[in-house]
Amino acid sequence: MTVPPEAADEPEQLGAFEARLAAGDRVEAGEWMPARYRAECLRLIQMHANSELMGALPEREWIPRAPTLARKMALVAKVQDEIGHAQLLYRVAEDLGKPRTQMIEELIAGASKFHNVFHYPAETWADVAIIQVFVDGAAMQTQGSLRSCSYAPYARVLKRICYEEDFHIRLGLDSFRALAEGTPRQRAMLQDALDRWWQPIMHFFGPRDQVSPHLETMMRWRIKVKTNDELRQQFLRQFVPVIQEYGLRVPDPDLRWDETAGQYRYAEPDWEEFRRVIRGEGPRTKARLELRQRYHAQHRWVREAVARWALAA
């Protein structure tokens, strides 16, 4: 597959493009778009696709150890959904000009990024509940907002993705409730998982946006719909009450609702750690990428068999 040569953006074309977007129109795969719009959409969607694929791994580790058959079946369904999301997203991304095989190779070589939260270990069964409720709950804020993204093929697949993420949060809440209403040991395990996941989840949305020409362009082009802190606040409003309702401790002692500002005040997380993790220096980055590489090599025969299928017939 070759990328069509992108003519230098003609001011006239760019003007017409901007006017279309301003009028609420959306962009389709085969249409003219500024080279930078294409690159930013590709970067966003490729990173999202990578995150779905890598995001299946922490929970996947718990499939063989799920406490009951019902939990195991629910977890299998959830993990399968995440892999399905990756398929939908790589399909959308490749129409922007990068072959799917190349994106997979970049991912397993550690050359492209995936979300910070998937660089961390899932140490106990309670981590699975915390991931399903709070990590998927955080992802839901971003993805929900991007359903109004200007790149139409992305907005369309997000409808199905959000529907399935909603299912993940619901089944997560079911596990969460079982542990929260369980024995003191179960409650302690849940609190411990929440304590460990709090900072990565606060990191998830990224640092507060600085006003910049780049941010302004992303918002005008509707590749970004809400700022990082708007999404974080939206998440806190929805999920802090879940923690409190079950009498668990919010891991940030500084967290409080500011009535006059109409938002939560929170302790600034350690952004140095965030930058380290997304650079690929997270606690589980290496092990997870190695696992992906191993399976990629192990499953080569499947890809080859599928490709040869037509010849064999």
Binding site: E28, G30, Q87
Partner: protein, 100 residues
Amino acid sequence: MNLAEITPGAEGVFAVFRQETKNDPHVHVGDVHAPDAEMALVLAKEQFARRDPCVNLWVVRYADIAATSYRDADMLEPSTDKSYRFGGSYREQQRVYRRR
């Protein structure tokens, strides 16, 4: 124009259409990469029919789908006022009719 021409790199891509019940139309729900239609159906079943109700799947090569261009969306716009084709335009008449 066919869809493979509009979408560079989409050779080997099949569009998947799912029908929820016999009473529903087939709806485009996504795509799969496959060397032929038979394999495309196998993959489509896994990705698009594992949860939602489905009684029938279609797969169609991108190259076999002829499409209008969004650029020419104007030609699909009605050239004249078409409100006479909508029941809502006749409410006034209905009120008059009922009064009799």
